[in-house]
Symmetry: C2
Subunit: 350 residues, 2 copies
DNA sequence: GTGAAAGCGCTAACAT
DNA sequence: ATGTTAGCGCTTTCAC
């Protein structure tokens, strides 16, 4: 460093007090203990010298880093930026800093990053990476690290979480398809080891029953990950089978974009020959042609809520486990056809 | 914590050596000093006890955190994920960790985050947030913190950087427009206080001259930030003026998307009534209708290169300042019309 | 080659 | 109300 950084001792010496007095004077928690006069003098010289407390020393001493680790499965997926923003805002308001890490959906990488964060003594973690059965969640529990899951949760429910109401979201999507006159509705399911994929799949089946349709297992395609190439591949596979369908409910927007790709290759168009819905309402899906009908999740609020829950747990380590479910809404655009026509059941066949 | 973490002392005691011996035995740098026999014994007991060195103590002692701060102006912009990926990969290979922070294009926020990172003793910084004149860059220089700028650079050139060859990229875009028969070409310029906006603007004018056209100042619209709403607003403004144009070269993809929005409102279509090019080739622009012709920047390589340069500087603080320029390529899609009429150049370099 | 001792910058008993 | 002292877990002189 250019100039050796000014330390608490420097301030104390300059102010003519003992370092611990200076420490107490500068710490809002302990300022009461100190004569107002001295406290002010210390504060002034600290400012004059440009004193910046060394968080490392603080951390080594107190074991509190004021850092929250945030594990993101795929930073390339546009749903995460708003979530992150929500987390950062809520955390920042409480004097905490979010440290982001991208696990790339790779369990090995995830493990390395987690250990790294534990090593760096994060005060807590927000994980958007959870699988339904997740050893890393166990690891955090074992270390007694405050943890909140976001977007995805674990099957056991033994840790706090804030997720979307995926079943309800599916009901919205399926009900809309039915309202548009579709009876043969396919589903592009996400990975079933993720709560999102799992719950949306279950929600799809349940919702079909509710609108009086039966979910044909041969019209359910299982995607091994939530991305466009999988969406395209599985859509094409469904299409190649014998079963006809006029609508497809995708478990997320990226899968729906994959459907667009496939349709384009086939010379077809979403919202004309085949109705398509996504899930998430991520940025840019309103810019596609046709704009995508999808289920909007309040991502920002999700992030903020998770952060607040974590902060609560930081204050009280024995705070009860909470499961918060956020209510999504349907955003109707053009990928499900212009106007719901009740009469004509199967529109287009090809 | 559940079980008190095992410390170096524990290992030393268990192995029957002094803590400093254990330290030396475990540190690859100093292992030579130690009898191979003892070194092995220490290593074995360390493993047996599940010893994990405490990076905080290491940091407090050595002032080396093995952390690199990465400042991103807007994590919502899809160009950054690939850059981040490149940075993380190159850094990870060298045992460093990237810590990301989103500044939201807000100078105040940027300053807070920078001070925070300096406080946490990052070993170096990669900034994607630089303005052409940037006090925060000065701040890093003053602290002698190793720094590499990425994507954007500073006018003075006093710090290492890796950026795209924006002038060349503009030549590609303009030359393509000219080849397609356009003569009245508009430009949506980005903020001129950013090197990207500035250089692309200059590149546009230069490129126009090179193809024998004159850049009409009234066909240059200045956007105050790189996002869709600005693109839409400024496009509409240009359109409202008297001057006609048949093509618009946008300074980045988000601005081009704004043009799409505007065209849509006017009942027009990119690639038919008005040719549009973007800049960046960010994810999803190939999914727009029509797919966007744009200038592809090797974002991943950009990130990796910046990380490597920073690592080099970490090894040798007196490494010279380097300016690396990456060569972009034109990706022709449908937003510039189906077929260039003048010549039979092949389309689609993707 | 290994042990002893100091110290990174801070906070928190404990003493006065 | 303030000063004294010890120590967080590690590395690194300096002795031997």
């Amino acid at each position: 460093m250019a100039t050796r950084r000014v330390t608490l001792r420097d301030v104390a010496r300059r102010a003519g007090v003992h370092p611990s007095t200076a420490s107490r004077a500068l710490n809002p928690q302990t300022r009461e203990m100190i004569t107002e006069d001295i406290a002010r003098r210390v504060a002034r010289t600290a400012r004059a010298l440009g004193y910046q407390p060394n968080p490392i020393a603080y951390l080594l001493k107190t074991n509190r880093s004021r850092i929250i680790g945030v594990l993101i499965p795929d930073i390339t997926n546009p749903v995460f930026p708003p979530i992150i923003r929500g987390i950062e805002d809520a955390l920042g308001a409480a004097g905490y800093t979010a440290v982001l890490a991208n696990t790339d959906n790779d369990e090995q990488r995830e493990r390395v990053i987690l250990e790294n964060m534990i090593g760096r003594r994060v005060d807590g973690l927000i994980m958007a990476t959870a699988r339904r059965r997740d050893p890393l969640v166990q690891r955090c529990l074992a270390e007694e690290i405050p943890l909140v899951l976001i977007n995805r949760t674990v099957a056991s429910g033994e840790v706090s979480s804030v997720v979307n109401d995926d079943e309800f979201g599916m009901e919205l999507a399926v009900a809309h398809m039915a309202r548009c006159g579709h009876a043969r509705i396919a589903h592009l399911a996400g990975p079933l080891d993720l709560s999102t994929g799992f719950t949306r799949h279950r929600g799809f089946i349940k919702a079909m029953k509710e609108v009086g349709l039966k979910a044909d297992p041969r019209l359910i395609g299982l995607c091994s990950s939530f991305n466009e190439t999988e969406g395209r591949r599985v859509f094409l596979g469904l299409r190649a089978g014998n079963r006809r369908f006029t609508a497809v409910v995708a478990a997320n927007d990226l899968l729906a974009v994959g459907c667009y790709d496939a349709l384009h290759e086939l010379g077809l168009r979403a919202g004309r020959e085949v109705a398509v819905t996504g899930f998430n309402d991520m940025p840019f899906v309103d810019k596609l042609r046709p704009p995508l009908t999808t289920v909007r999740i309040p991502h920002y609020q999700m992030g903020a809520q998770a952060a607040r829950m974590l902060l609560a747990r930081l204050r009280d380590p024995h705070a009860p486990i909470e499961h918060v479910t956020l209510r999504p809404e349907l955003v109707v655009r053009d990928s499900t056809g212009r106007a719901p026509r009740t009469s004509s059941r199967s529109r287009g066949s090809a």
